[in-house]
Assembly symmetry: D2
Homo-oligomer: 253 residues x 4
């Protein structure tokens, strides 16, 4: 039986500013990438997100970032790898305090924004993230793009690596994502997104922009909760997966 | 045999800015109140301080603060008690990640600066600090001023409370500290400070500003490492204690 | 002919987080209290707000705050008066750069959140705000609560003081605002709010919570733009004022 | 008569953390690059630095930076050029408030740290800095490395461009600086540094690492004040320049 995880970015409010529908998403996803305060997420937001994850049986991941509130972690910051490792370790520990207070624990790490991209292609940045995860707890998994340097680095250091795919993003024939700036690169039609999620989970394939079918291996599908109607879209994805006989379960126990 | 702990604030550098002689102090004190990033202490500074504490066999405490880098945590911030609790929990978790990476653990919590003073007298602020400590780990001790609301709150919630005294500060006859702005309120003569430390440890007393002898119960003596010559002064205090037959040991195992 | 100003807090987004409908409000109000980056407002948000204010002919005020992004400036921070003065001066200068780039200028100062309340009652905090304004430009006006220490301090230093009132808040018989926590303290009925605005502007009075009519002198009425329907409510207020023959004009030239 | 300016980075303390000897340097240099709060410099530090500059007759420049306190502005941050322009404008305005309160004004802009390097080679980053300066005041000069993209961009937009050289850094034969990591790349011998300063000012040349003499045109020489003995070294440089008949004057009126 095919099995897949649904992961989403949560805990991304900050103080008076609210972002996304955490409560709605926590009823649908199986893994929550919770912000750790560096790109978003004040301490009380972290608590609420962890409480919600635990009470919904959702796995908690540390969504670690460069220190960049003003840029929401989307700006590459050329940090020394040791300083980056320490910044990541700081974030994992801070979030885990709330996860444990809620009765759960951080079980994986996923870099956010510019760090997600840097760690996918830059070995030093990737190793810094992995090293922090390993130092904190060698049983932590690392969630990232399939085929990324980040997942290679995780394997190299003995950590579980988990590949994710995107049901709502257009793929180029070479397996990479079409740039967000390209027209049609973000899919919004519910039926289309749901069908692609099923294809990824059942056959490990997705239709590319040129109409060809390409392989996309993924134990997890990343979904987004920060747009109006996002929760409903994710519900449709989950319903379609289950209707196709796919088990929707977190990748961590 | 009388026993006393020597505690000092460490890890208070930030990025390029250095403060105090952590290495020197870690060779003398038995407990290190390590900053957690809110009033001082970038992640790499936390790592270095935790590594040094563990390798010197020094107990690690979380020196938690209001979020106030520009004011070094010396400005009272009127935080909602739940937000304060969450800010404290965040800091404990962040620091503990480095303590554990170094092979140790955070074993106590001590509020810093304006939070130290607020938690000594304001029940809501005191309870917020204690609640965060208890949530993180009920075996954490709370270090604070003898007779403070903070220590009462710790006892009330079942946490170990540890009273500290100051060998280098003048005490008023009522047992309170003379304000820093008073002339002579901070003692710098090595022999005087060392003798007062011995009095506190051996007889639980100190000479007050009016010449009277008052009771000052303390399991720990707070010393300071951020001035030139500070390390030498603390060494003299420790030597005098040991020469008087006082055991100098951390209050945590 | 009675004349009144309508002022609102604007520029309170931060990075990816959006707050309020600045464009909508700028079409209705006559004075914009623009955040300066300390409680809200990244630099690009300041630019957009200043550009919009100038193109709509709206006066620009510096909405200065304690440094407190996480608390949106609603937490009292016990800053040394000289440090507060300097923090306020920093904010005025920063905002004025955008006001001037847009072809306008900062013409008044209004403290935000906890600083608004502190400066209304604490002479040292009030004087710090006024001193910064005066240092920057003695032609700046100071906008605050009628009868506040802040306005007294402004007058004392030779700055124009401008009193504001609230059409959507309940007043106690002694002229103070009913606490937000009291039921009914924030009025939402459009007709009621509009009528109270007209009463304030035309007769300098408002109906208090006990039914009595009290005096509320105000050259400006503060309105709020951060709730759904806020812009429409303010439009109704403005329409009612103009229908009653009240001139709606900024208090600065 | 040859004329040269001596510029140094000042105002780089932050809260309790002190860096450099501003008072000492202000008695020797002719231009002060004052931090603006983004990599260093709390508001009260800006005030002190501006007061000191004005009372010593030293020109004030805005030392603008990426937002990066923890990294002291030495980390490249991949900011969108419009956001960078706005961040720079914010900083110029904030600093100018203190310059004007002191009776002076910001008369030039110099990027700091990673932004200095990025703006020297990246056209989009360079233009963002120049655009902010031009928007604030077209009479501002831009100070940077001779031959840099930054100075080209300043000229292109009609701003005065001022080239600087380094008397205490080793130059490669191609005119670029030897990397700091190279042994001998930072010169500390007083007589050597002073002689090189005179060579730069009098003949526009400097001895490169291979012994060859290369051209280094510079209207300003950058000196450093953040090491022990730095002030004395700079005094020696100034004495040597004056003894050689070089006028030591700011490049701005």
């Amino acid at each position: 039986v095919p099995v897949v995880d649904l992961n989403a970015d949560l805990g991304e409010s900050f103080g008076v500013w609210k972002l996304g529908d955490d409560d709605g998403m926590l009823r649908v996803v199986t893994s929550a990438n919770i912000a750790c305060g560096f790109h978003a997420g004040d301490p009380s937001t972290l608590r609420a997100a962890c409480d919600g994850a635990v009470s919904n049986g959702v796995a908690i991941g540390a969504q670690v970032s460069y220190p960049d509130l003003a840029g929401f972690g989307r700006r590459f910051v050329d940090m020394d790898p040791r300083e980056l490792r320490d910044a990541v370790l700081y974030q994992i520990g801070a979030l885990d305090a709330f996860a444990r207070a809620a009765g759960g624990r951080v079980s994986y790490v996923k870099p956010h924004g510019a760090l997600y991209h840097a760690a996918a292609t830059d070995e030093r940045q990737a190793r810094a993230v992995v090293e922090a995860a390993r130092e904190y707890d060698p049983s932590l998994a690392v969630l990232g793009r399939g085929g990324s340097i980040l997942l290679d680095a995780a394997v190299e250091r003995g950590l579980a690596s988990v590949a994710e795919a995107f049901a709502d993003r257009a793929y180029l024939p070479d397996g990479s994502l079409a740039p967000r700036s390209d027209e049609g690169s973000v899919l919004v039609d519910t039926a289309t997104v749901a069908r692609r999620a099923v294809d990824i989970a059942v056959s490990g394939t997705v239709r590319a922009t040129d109409g060809s079918t390409i392989r996309v291996e993924a134990r997890s599908i990343c979904v987004h909760g920060d747009t109006p109607g996002a929760v409903r879209l994710v519900e449709s994805v989950r319903d379609a997966l289950e209707a196709s006989g796919v088990g929707v379960h977190a990748f961590v126990a």
